[in-house]
Amino acid sequence: MNGANQDPSTARLSRSLALQGRICDPLPLIQSDNPKRLLRQIQNYLVDASNERKLITSPGEIFQLVKLLPPKKRDEFLLEGADKNELHDPNRPKIEREDGCWFHFFIIGTAAPERSKLLLLGYHFEMYVPDENRFFRYDLNSPTGEARENVDKGMRSHLHLNAEDVQLPAPAMTPFELLDFFVYGFLPRNQDRRRIGGHQGS
């Protein structure tokens, strides 16, 4: 417990780890039993969104953009949705929403042989808002080996808000919770409405 004898930095670390415990322990399980099935579920989710016109990327393009790394003999897998497009080139193939925002993602997991569900090891889901040149990204760092540094700080699961060096605690989510937000949930507020009642007026 946070006893009176605990030094302040230890107490802060304890709180940080308790926060991490609340937001990403246990990690959500991926409701698929193998990477190929997860791939197909994600492709079909995005194809449905395209058919609903939530995405302007066509179903055919979605199948081109959402792929697995060819499997090795190990259990880890990498599933990618479009490439990084770091320069935000609008001409590159991308998963684009009806409002012009676009996103890319990758998911790292493992098919633990003793379990019927895939385990999440890490992810990277980034949304780009071109009109305002803004981005945000949910990252889940790898839990093992070299990732200890951030895990120990309680920042394994975090959100980048418009800057690589800004990291905010964020809940660990399943791939479909993230897609729900990226495709349907995230709605940039209308600039004019945001100013109503504010000091800028409209």
Binding site: L68, P70, E76, F77, L121, D139, L140
Partner: protein, 197 residues
């Protein structure tokens, strides 16, 4: 002409079946010559079950066109995968063309062929070919996977973003000094070194 056929991955093919196979639709899927059509049919049936929730019948047309028609009617399901027609001689394709009225009805029907059999069908079963129309593709079972050039491109972006080469990343991973960002885990996997995660 088969070199001009569009390619399609198994997932997209099944999506096409679902979107365009409402009542009475024929689809032709051209498999590479080296592919075992029965195991390809089993894989497709799993995809159809997972994506469309439909049970699939396997119809082996090897004995000939008449038997193909009988077996197709006996199957009576909403989705049928038909194989065994790739060995048909010209006369059997002509025969199947004459039986085309009996091939109508009964839901989604996907005929698995080789490239040379698809050419034969177009030449000797023109009515059936016209019925199929544009619903003909070559299967690319690798479509679900990043191609080597896509892997190379992603690695190139990682190198320029982080100003490091692959060897430096591997050294840092072995020394447990790699930063925790998921992109480094991605990098290791792209290098085929998931063991260092």
């Amino acid at each position: 002409m088969n070199h001009d056929l569009p390619t399609i991955g198994p997932g997209e093919f099944v999506t096409q079946l679902g979107e365009n196979g409402k009542e009475d639709a024929w689809f032709i899927l051209v498999l590479p010559d080296s592919t075992d059509e029965q195991s390809a049919a089993v894989r497709l049936a799993e995809e159809i079950h997972d994506t469309l929730g439909l049970p699939t019948a396997f119809v082996n047309g090897t004995p000939g066109p008449e038997e193909l028609v009988i077996r197709l009617h006996q199957a009576g399901t909403k989705a049928a995968l038909i194989y065994g027609a790739k060995a048909y001689i010209d006369a059997e394709w002509r025969h199947l063309d004459l039986l085309r009225k009996q091939l109508e009805g009964g839901g989604i029907k996907a005929l698995l062929l080789t490239a040379s059999a698809a050419e034969q069908m177009q030449r000797f079963a023109p009515h059936l070919s016209s019925f199929v129309g544009a619903a003909i593709w070559q299967l690319n079972e690798e479509a679900d996977y990043l191609a080597p050039e896509e892997v190379a491109e992603r690695l190139s972006v990682l190198r320029s973003t982080w100003q490091k080469d692959d060897d430096a990343i591997l050294e840092m991973a072995k020394a447990k000094t790699l930063p925790p960002d998921p992109e480094f885990a991605q990098w290791l996997l792209l290098l085929g070194r998931g063991d260092l995660l």
